[in-house]
């Protein structure tokens, strides 16, 4: 029963994290009335998960054998692109935020396409959603005894706890100043996207698109991906217990390239900001 709780908590954690971040983001830029985009994206992600879950549970054949894997890989790369774009966008707008918050935010709202955060919510929920649906469904099919229904309850509680974590992120994020929130979230999203990118590369290896390789290291004895701490680190930082050299390279390359492109400007920011204040430029 405890295992059931952890499985659904683990599956739903990433979705809760992303939903928490994008809701906070909208709250922060004063666009609460656009919460609907995120809710819609999340709801569509849930609907797509259920459709896929039903398809996998009721049908079989080559399409169901391969289809979900191809869709999963596509969703992973779509999520990487969206998160990178969002992180880049936030960092760009974090620069001039101090002092002239209101004007900047208006500008932000008009230039940022808000449906994009909805799409982030969609990919976040859909990525592990179908698995969670099938898992819970299977538990319900098995639930003939009190213990069986206990498992179902534990599974639902796992999803609810993930939701609670998302809520805590939302509440915590709101306390941060706008500039700090943007910076923290940008770094978080870059790590998250790096982990996803390397996962996507791993999927391509298993699909035979990229060559299979022996793992670079094996730290499963030290920290397993499936443990609570391990799975949180996997979701947040992209920790892997047995990465292939390609996965590890993809992770490092993403961090270096995207981290530099997005945060590179941030390091120079203090200089230009003080220059603006001193009236040297403009």
């Amino acid at each position: 029963m405890g295992g059931t709780f952890l499985i659904t908590l683990r599956e739903a954690f990433e979705a809760a994290l992303l939903l928490g971040v994008v809701y906070t983001y909208l709250d922060k830029i004063g666009a609460r009335r656009h919460f609907g985009w995120v809710t819609l994206g999340g709801a569509l992600g849930l609907a797509a998960s259920i459709v896929m879950g039903v398809a996998v549970a009721y049908f079989s054949g080559p399409l169901v054998d391969l289809g979900p894997d191809v869709i999963a890989a596509a969703v992973i790369f779509l999520a990487v692109i969206l998160l990178t774009w969002h992180a880049w966008w936030m960092q760009r707008h974090a620069r001039g935020i101090r002092g002239e918050v209101e004007r900047r935010i208006d500008q932000a709202r008009s230039t940022q396409r808000l449906w994009m955060v909805g799409l982030i919510a969609f990919t976040g929920v859909f990525r592990e959603g179908a698995e969670t649906v099938i898992f819970l469904w299977g538990l319900m099919a098995e639930a003939t005894s009190a213990a069986g229904w206990g498992s179902v309850a534990a599974g639902v509680a796992g999803v609810a706890s993930a939701g609670l974590l998302g809520w805590i992120i939302f509440c915590g994020g709101r306390r941060l100043s706008l500039g700090r929130f943007f910076t923290v979230t940008t770094v978080l999203l870059i790590f998250l996207a790096a982990g996803l990118f390397s996962t996507g590369i791993g999927r391509l290896q298993s699909l035979g698109v990229l060559p299979m390789m022996t793992p670079l290291w094996d730290t499963s004895w030290l920290l397993s991906d499936s443990s609570v701490v391990g799975s949180f680190l996997a979701g947040l930082l992209g920790y892997r217990e047995r990465p292939s050299p390609l996965e590890a390279a993809a992770h490092v390359a993403y961090l270096l390239v995207v981290g530099f492109v997005i945060l590179g400007g941030a390091w120079r920011r203090p200089h230009s900001a003080s220059a603006v204040r001193a009236g040297v430029s403009r």
Partner: protein, 113 residues
């Protein structure tokens, strides 16, 4: 320089010529059954260097996720369903897999040799 290009090109073209043959030849299908949250057989021997297809049947009512960190495969199998999983050519070695939802009992390995 020309020599290098030729050395690179030969295996490349050889690979292209062989590729369709590899696709046409049906990959070997290896049955794997999941019952009472255990894999049968728990140890599978395959030929190294040849792709194959795992035909996994879940005889339990509950869903299971066939997961192998070594193979980078995660595949959910609903209760009572059969799913085919393509596995690319493996180097000689041992590749562990588990049923993620019942990791304590559902364990197995593929030995490529």
């Amino acid at each position: 320089m020309k020599g290098l290009a030729a050395t690179l090109a030969v295996p490349l073209f050889a690979g292209l010529a062989l590729a369709p043959v590899g696709v046409q030849a049906a990959d070997q299908e290896i049955p794997l059954t999941l019952e009472k949250n255990r894999f049968d057989p728990a140890e599978i021997k395959v030929k190294a260097g040849a792709p194959f297809v795992l035909v996994i049947t879940n005889k339990d009512k509950s869903a299971e996720e066939f997961e192998s960190k070594d193979l980078k495969i995660e595949k959910v199998i609903a209760g009572g369903k059969t799913v085919k999983v393509k596995v690319p050519a493996l180097k000689a070695g041992t590749y562990k897999f588990v049923g993620e939802y019942h990791e304590a009992t559902a364990q197995g390995r593929i030995i490529a040799e």
